[in-house]
Every structure is written in structure tokens, then in C-alpha cells.
């Protein structure tokens, strides 16, 4: 007979794994991806494929030739980064090469240089997006407009997003709440449909990968704070419902602020984190240089996460 194994207890495991978590996140992103392809057609599909492929490739190359460690691309985290990065850019022809640079920055600088998955202080997809926004300000703010379903042409008509239009003057009056909820608006390809994002988030909640704490406080804070501003002066500030339905608030709150690696561990820390994200988003939108502030807000709160982990402790059983 074989020798017996020995080890400390426990002798069973829940069978949960990083790989399963990451692939479930990918599954949760599928509804938003389908909406993006439906509205932005072939462009959205190609940008997504290029983004995912370059993230996976860069991680594989770095692990094989620089770190010389066994590859971890199978865990699906590079795919998550690739999808989220694609979701954060406009679906245009230019993006088909620009997103590769974003992927290199996201994977190479924001993730692997810190030691790979789990060690990165900032969400790689957001770091990649901000890098692109600063490096390619024109291409990153050339938004294709939603026309018919599944457009197969590469040259989509472009125009301002509701947020951009509002920053310039006033909200186009023809955008209804329902348009914004379903995604019938201009914007980055993954952020347009609140419905698709909420579907994915509901799946993640059901699978216990995220909890309500960050998304609800993030969106709630943004809603309340913008609501107060709107009540003070409805002509100068956007109304709160439109505020949370447009731009990246839904995508950021459900998928990027909830990134396990870069958000606090304790529930109390998560509440502060979500609150900070919501507050900063509205501050940047209204008084900053950019029409959209979600990614900056999350990046800033990412940097506060280690402090929140230190200050916010779980409730102890004993004391």
C-alpha cells in the first residue's frame, strides 16, 4: 500500500479557486459585451478580441521571458483585464491598435511589475484606460453613436456622449432615461447599457464573488450627491437619475471598484471605499477638467485601500 499522506487540518477544501472566480467574472461581462456588439457592431467585436488577445499575450510573454515563472494565463484574470479595458474605450477603428498599447500598460506596468495577480495596487484595466486617455485624448474621446443593430461598417457616425454634451452646454433633450438604461447612447463600448451591467453584477452577487457594499454605496453616493446639487440648481447640474445611468458609474461600480485585489477586505472598509468613489466621481464630473471621473475616482480610492485595510477591521467575535 502507498504511504499515507499527512497534513494539518482541515483535510477538505471548498473547491473554490481563483480560476473559477475569474472565469465567472468573465461570464458576468458577457451581457455587456453582447450589448456592445449589438450597438457598435464589428468594431466592438474586433476591439474586444484584440484587447483580450494582447492582454493574454503580454502576460504570457512576461511570465515566460522576463519572470521565467510558470504561466498563469489560464486563470482568466488577463481575460478580465482585456475585456474591461475594451469596455473602457470607444469602439472605433483607431482603437484596434491603440488598445494594444493600453493592454501593454495594463498588464506590463500596472499588473506584472508588481508581481502579478493579487499584488497590483491599482486595477490594471483602469490604469490602462487612464494611460490611454492621457496619451490619446482625441481618439479616446471620439465616440461612435448608436445607430442600428449590428452595424457591419467600420466608420460609425461619431458624436458627443451625454456627459460630454452636458459639459459643453446642455444635455441633448432627446436622450430618455430608458435610452440610458438600455444603452441607446454614445459612450465607451461596455458602459452604455446599465441593464446588461446589472445583470452581470446580479450573477456575481449570486455567486458570492462581490457583495452589495461597494456598488450600492458607490452608486448611492453618486445619486444622493448629484441629487443635492441638482436640487440646488437644476440648470447647472445633471439630474441624479441620468447621472448614474450615463458614463461609467454602473460599469465602474459593479466591475472595477469591486475588483477584489484593489478594494478593501472588511465590509466597513468597502463602505468607505464605495462612498469615496461616488463622491470623487461627482466632484470630478462637475468641477474637473474631464466630463467623466469614474476611473480617476476608482484609481484614487485604490490608493487608499491599504489604509482602509489597516483601519477597518472586521467585528471580532470575542471583544
Amino acid at each position: 500500500m502507498n504511504l499515507l499522506n499527512i497534513s494539518g487540518s482541515p483535510h477538505v477544501h471548498s473547491d473554490e479557486s481563483t480560476k473559477k472566480i475569474m472565469w465567472r467574472v468573465n461570464a458576468a461581462l458577457v451581457p455587456a459585451l453582447l450589448v456592445a456588439i449589438a450597438y457598435f457592431g464589428i468594431n466592438a467585436l474586433l476591439v474586444s478580441i484584440i484587447s483580450v488577445a494582447s492582454c493574454v499575450l503580454f502576460q504570457w510573454l512576461i511570465e515566460k521571458y522576463i519572470l521565467k515563472t510558470p504561466t498563469t494565463v489560464g486563470d482568466g484574470s488577463a481575460v478580465v483585464t482585456g475585456l474591461l479595458l475594451a469596455f473602457n474605450v470607444p469602439a472605433t477603428v483607431d482603437m484596434m491598435w491603440i488598445v494594444v498599447i493600453g493592454a501593454l500598460f495594463a498588464i506590463g506596468v500596472a499588473k506584472m511589475s508588481f508581481g502579478g495577480l493579487g499584488k497590483n495596487p491599482f486595477n490594471p484595466a483602469i490604469a490602462g484606460r487612464i494611460f490611454l486617455l492621457i496619451s490619446f485624448p482625441v481618439q479616446m474621446t471620439t465616440w461612435p453613436q448608436v445607430g442600428g443593430l449590428f452595424p457591419m461598417n467600420f466608420d460609425l457616425a461619431t458624436g458627443a456622449t451625454p456627459l460630454g454634451a452636458f459639459k459643453e452646454g446642455a444635455l441633448p433633450t432627446d436622450v430618455t432615461f430608458m435610452d440610458a438604461f438600455l444603452g441607446h447612447i454614445g459612450g465607451s463600448m461596455g458602459e452604455v447599457s446599465a441593464l446588461a451591467i446589472l445583470l452581470g453584477a446580479a450573477y456575481l452577487c449570486w455567486k458570492k464573488i462581490i457583495t452589495w457594499h461597494i456598488p450600492v454605496t458607490f452608486i448611492g453616493t453618486a445619486f444622493v450627491f448629484s441629487g443635492i446639487l441638482w436640487l440646488i440648481d437644476p440648470t447647472a447640474y445633471m439630474d441624479p437619475v441620468m447621472t448614474i445611468l450615463t458614463g461609467g458609474i454602473m460599469l465602474g461600480a459593479c466591475f472595477m471598484a469591486t475588483d477584489m485585489v484593489t478594494s478593501p477586505m472588511a465590509k466597513s472598509g468597502q463602505l468607505i471605499f464605495g462612498f469615496g468613489c461616488g463622491l470623487l466621481t461627482i466632484v470630478i464630473r462637475n468641477w474637473g477638467a474631464y466630463p467623466e471621473g469614474v476611473s480617476f475616482a476608482i484609481l484614487i480610492m485604490n490608493s487608499v485601500t491599504p489604509l482602509l485595510n489597516r483601519w477597518c477591521k472586521p467585528k471580532r467575535f470575542a471583544n
Partner: protein
Amino acid sequence: MKTFRMGGVHPEENKISNDAAIEVMPVGKQMVVLMNQHLGAPATPIVQKGDKVKVGQLIGEAQTFMCANVHSPVSGTVTKVEPCKDAFGLAKPAVWINVEGDEWMETIDRTPDIKRECTLEPKEIVAKLKEMGIVGLGGATFPAHIKYSIPEGKKAEYLIINAAECEPYLTSDYRVMMEHAEEVCIGVSILRKALGVPNAYIGIESNKPLAIAKMQEMAKQFEGIIVEPLKVKYPQGAEKQLINAVTGRRVGSGKLPIDSGCVVSNLGTAFAVYEAIQKNKPLIENILTVTGKELPSQHNYIVRIGTTYNEIISHSIGQLPETTGKVISGGTMMGKAVVNLDAPTVKGNSSVLVIGEKEARRAPETNCIRCGKCASACPMGLEPYLFSLLVKNNRVEEAKAHNILDCIECGCCFFSCPANKPLTDEIRLGKNKVRAMMAAKK
């Protein structure tokens, strides 16, 4: 339904030996009786080579405070008094006995009659628990006479009997409830009398509806026994969690249950108390489960303490299956992996659990993704991921400041970790480091 306030996990229950009635395992040819089968100092052997002993005769005497008597589980001749390796490979003082016949001490009542009346005073009950070598059978093997001697200034308000049996696979407590409900209730009444508390609560996880019904029916015939169904959640049967579930009270950091007015004993202990007090039978037998998905059959046995693991295996299933990966004494969450199958069983052993090769291996460790699942699963509200980092970097002071000593080693953190980090192992190491540091400071 009552449960504890935070954390917890739900491992697969695997109570596959639930329906196997308790069988009596025959006595082997030789018995090795270890002298420390309990928490504390070993008992002092009071027999010598060549002495004849009977079943139930005192062979190891408790001569220090934290110690328990040890009795002979068999009749025969003492062949040597020498150390023997226990199941985990550590040499322990032991008495070796060649088995001859099965001659019991005359004082032991071996009739099947059930005796309900107990006329002993509380002090006499405690003295008799000591004499009979009763220890807690929930796993820690804490000497019962110490637990039931309430220190000056403390007051017991609740007696809680732990029948949660929240560990996967184990079914011995379940079988005792199904087959010996009356004896258990008598045992509980005796313990209640010893403490002088109005009520005793028997906490049972609700995945044992038949046992709950049986105990509730039986408890009606007794005064002050309340059966408390509990939510199915591991570690419902951990002492502090059980107290919290039943009474709502919390045992503070570094405190004992009695500081919160509670005394907790295992269901198996209550049965042993009945036999000791009413039948004069010392603690010489274990009720244990022989189980595992790989095994051809599932069993529950009454086994004389001192029977070796190999004897139990060969009697119950012949031999270990080819696919055996690990043999565990206890359940899969807190049980210990057995190193030495030639070792004798000791008081408090509750199972011989065999798990397969595949299950016995841990998946490779990957980076922590800071998901916080370990902290959410921790029933003590601790941060296992943090201990893992602190212990690796030898930051022992900080680990202590973050209450590492509160850890009950239930295993929920490792169980739920998606990165397969051996968190429980690291915390155990950390606790040892903290204790060493505290000892060095004194």
C-alpha cells in the same frame, strides 16, 4: 433557528455512516494503554510487569491537578510499562497488557437495566467523575472533574450539551442519541445536578431531525432538559460558537466558558457520565465511526480504548483500500492525520476516517487575491490573510495584537481560500510563535 453570530462555512456533510447501528468490537490479543489520554500531565502507572489486572481496574493514577485517572480496558497480565508511540508519532508513557479472558471488576454493573435515580450530592458526583477518569469526549479531552469544579467567585448558569456534530462524516454522537437517548438524558441530569443549574440545553444541528425528535421525546420525561435545534453551519459545535448560538453570550478573548456562566460538555461525555455514575463503569470504551467514501462498508463501533487503528481497520473492513490517501482521527475539518496506524486509540477518539488519494492532496498554492473570503468565513472575526503575512515575516507582536490567539483552528479560512493558501497551518505556527514570545518575556 439559532446559530452563531458570524462566519462559518458549509462543508459537504458526508454523514454516510448515519444508519450503521453501534456494534461491539471484539477485544484484541494485546492492549497498550497510554498514560496521557487527556489534556494535562500523564497519569502515573501504579502497576508493574507481571501484575494481573481486570477490566476497569485503575492502572494510572492522577497525581497532579491537571490529570485524569486511566483504567485497564481489558483483563490480563501487564507485560511491560514502557513508552509507546501514539497515533501522531510521539512516544508516550504506556502500560502494555497481554489480554487473558474478559474478567470485569465486580463493582461494575453490567446488567442492561437503566438506572434513573441518582442520590449523590454534587461534590460526590465530581469526585466520582475523577475516580472514573472521565474526560471531555468532544476532542479536547479536558478532565471532567476540573470542568465541573466551579472556581470560587464564578457561577454556572447554563449547562450546554454539544450534540451539534458539525464535523463532516462523524456519526457517533448521532448513533448514541438514536440508541441511548434515555441514558444520555440521565447523564445530562446528573451533570445538571453537579452544577446546580436550572436548565441544560442540548444543541443539535437540524440535519439530524430523527435525533432531535427522539431527544425531545425523551427530554419530556426529565426536568430541565431543553433540546435546541441549531442551524446547519460549521463550526456550530465549537465551544464558543455553541455558547453564542444557545445563549447569545460571547466568551471574551482568552476567557473560559465559565467566565460567561457556561459549561459545555459533549454528548458522548454525558453518556460516559451516566455509565460512570450509575453503573460504576470507568471510561474504558470509545464510540467511534469507521467511515470514508472509499470504504466498502460504514460502521459505528464501541471499541475498548487501547485497540490499535490497524485492529479497528482489519476488523471492520479487512484492509485499507488501494486508493487510501489519508487516515484521519476525527472529522475532515479539525481531525488529525494519523501517522502511525499501529498506535492505540485513546479517550476522545471519535473516528477512523479514510479519505481517498485525490481528496488527500492539496491543490497548489497561488497568489492571494485579497478576496477576503477567509475573513468572512472566520467565526472569530479574525483576518487570516493578515496572519499569514505577519507570521511569514516574523512580525509576532503584531499578530498577537490582531488577536491571533483567539483562533480556534476550525479550518474555515483554508477551506474557503480560492488561492489554496495553507492559512490554518500558518496561523497554528503563528500561535506557537506568539506563545513562545510570551513565555520568553515572563
